[in-house]
Assembly symmetry: C2
Homo-oligomer: 392 residues x 2
């Protein structure tokens, strides 16, 4: 055991998250701690709520950060909305749909699975079929942006289908929020969760959530108690609700919320549309470079997330060797495949502050250097020109 201060190496984070955190946000984390019931802190909480409403494009009153990572945001949605015996249609096209199933079952619910191949978007036709076969279903849950594959599903269409069958909608936007359009009110989403460490470029540990009035009605009129005390919205609302009077529920992660606040101020100043365009443009440049090198994408173009790029590992190339060399020789982190895609793909993130021209150049040139050295079957010497043409 080492007993001395920890000084991390300086990495460039181009995996599936955490993404590079802007120095402004790191500095915000280090501001002096104040009390979680301090009137000045309560004002900041109100600003965080307002800024999150902007980020989610919603007027939902209950829009707030859960004091724990995205997995706890997911759990907040499920434990509050699913009661024992409730049937939930869960769409799975990657790792996180499977985690939703776990959540439903641990709430005593019945998960009806709609499966799509990993790397594909959720197929609305299959969801419609499941809704028709299960008229007693109460909720449809799906992942907008599958972090494990880089596929984006059509949230608007899926939500419409669900509402047509009187179901509530639970949506995972962990990797999409701030990177591609997330329009909670326009899409009529009832419960949504996200993470701070992806396109918001904040440190990991907090999960923004938002709930519609219809969802809150359900929470307030449950027949059974929410199984989690920590995540019970009936209690959390006493602290994150409106008005100057806030009831103590748990001690909020004060400094982590300074960081989230700063990242949301930066997003508001950039403007959502500009952030979406930046993510799209930088994806085009990265794609040009990787394809010029001869690498191919897992997800087809119209379902592809610009901020999370899954590329197929060339034949004969060992996944871990390449990632270790990138990390050790260039301080560059890219992501491994998860689950069914482990060892077969790399996940290259261009999220938030990581979505910058200099990161694209570093990533593509470092990959080319390592793959060339390993005699992998790639085209050398052409990628940078392809990128430059896109960036111009």
């Amino acid at each position: 055991m080492t007993v001395q201060s920890f000084n991390p190496p300086i990495r460039t984070l181009m995996g599936p998250g955490p993404s590079d955190v802007h120095p402004r946000i790191l500095n915000a984390l280090a501001r002096p701690t104040i009390g979680h019931l301090d009137p000045v802190f309560v004002e900041m909480m109100d600003d965080v709520k307002g800024l999150l409403q902007y980020a989610f494009q919603t007027e939902n009153e209950l829009t707030m950060p859960v004091s724990a990572p995205g997995s706890a945001g997911m759990e907040t949605c499920f434990v509050n909305l699913v009661e024992p015996g409730d049937k939930v249609i869960v769409c799975q096209n990657g790792v996180f749909g499977g985690r939703m199933k776990e959540n439903v079952e641990r709430c005593g619910g019945i998960a009806v699975m709609v499966e799509d191949e990993w790397g594909n978007a959720v197929d609305p036709a299959k969801v419609e079929q499941a809704l028709e076969s299960n008229p007693d279903a109460k909720i449809v849950a799906f992942v907008h942006a599958e972090t494990s594959t880089g596929a984006q599903s059509d949230a608007k269409t899926l939500s419409e289908l669900a509402h047509k069958h009187d179901c509530l909608v639970i949506l995972d936007t962990v990797t999409s929020l701030g990177g591609t359009p997330v329009l909670i009110d326009e899409w009529q989403i009832d419960a949504v969760y996200s993470g701070t460490q992806k396109c918001l470029s904040c440190t990991p540990g907090i999960s923004p959530v938002s709930f519609s009035e219809r969802a809150l009605d359900k929470v307030k009129n449950r027949e059974t108690r929410v199984q989690s005390w920590f995540l019970d919205l009936n209690l959390v609302m006493g602290y994150w609700g409106s008005g100057q009077k806030r009831a103590y529920h748990h001690t909020a992660p004060v400094n982590a919320l300074y960081g989230l606040h700063e990242s949301l101020v930066m997003l508001k100043n950039e403007g959502l549309e500009n952030a979406w365009k930046r993510h799209a443009d930088n994806h085009d440049a990265l794609k040009a470079g990787l394809e010029a090198m001869g690498l191919s994408f897992v997800v087809k173009p119209d379902e592809r997330l610009p901020q999370l790029n899954s590329v197929t590992i060339p034949d004969g190339v060992d996944d871990a060797t390449v990632r270790s060399r990138l990390l050790n020789e260039f301080n560059l982190e890219i992501g491994a495949g998860l689950g069914a895609l482990a060892g077969k793909v790399w996940r290259i993130g261009l999220m938030g502050f990581s979505s910058r021209a200099e990161n694209i150049l570093l990533c593509v040139s470092a990959l080319e250097a390592v793959l060339s050295d390993l005699n992998a079957p790639i085209n050398s010497g052409v990628a940078l020109k392809a990128i430059q043409e896109k960036l111009d």
Copy 2:
């Protein structure tokens, strides 16, 4: 809504937590984020585990920080150890025993309550009686240091009683860890949780926990699944377990863990015995000042926590007025009473980095200034001398 960076006022935090965070720890928070599976981060995780073993005085292999505040640490203990139908003896002598009851019931367990007056320690005789009347009880749960009152219970005796009746022990050390002796192995505690924002002087948001082998046997051999996916130790162990290979479970709060690491390094360098002595000595000085002024303590001396001082609000003095003036005029935060003690007591914390001579002087002199101005029945002009005699 304000859209600009948040710059908190500089407070002195002498409430029930968060306590003042040392600048070294704030600086650690702002270090560059690296990946939660980065080999360098995994090494730091091992150091955090080792340092937590020291803080808890345990060799328990599963000693780790839960990625959420103390309430989630409590929930981790209950959801993993309580199965539906399990009978749990819950001791309540303040707010947090009541929260334990909520946890037991939400796990489908049966809570047998042992009640003591708020401000008193848990009475071992009552616990023994409850154990004898409930031979089918499986767990005894109690709070070592009641944050709502400032009373400390005899964990060693209560744990012995529980084990004599073949029960596991769940212990809350949120406010004691680092401030008064917490001896997990010597006391044979099976599951313990704490918080970072009290005597560890770190920012709020993380909950250190530790589990004995006996507790883990129970977790691994449950008949039902743990109801929380996020807190299921069977899954969390894949990430926080031993060895270089760590399975992704959730994205750890990387920078918050930098902060915890730094605070644990500082605790190790100071030495637990020295930290305990500092908390005891500073309590004596604060007590001398407050009593000279004519204020009295809620908890009797032999059950009193040195780091959390509940004092009775003098007759005719309005709680909120005093706390607001301390905050607005002197940037000093002290705590309100909770639950049954709301409006009747103040809670003055001397925890971690807040436990310093200068804080004692500020607190007592600011209280004297405000109370004098309100014509409260106190002795003026004698407190500082009483403090000085103790500090000499």
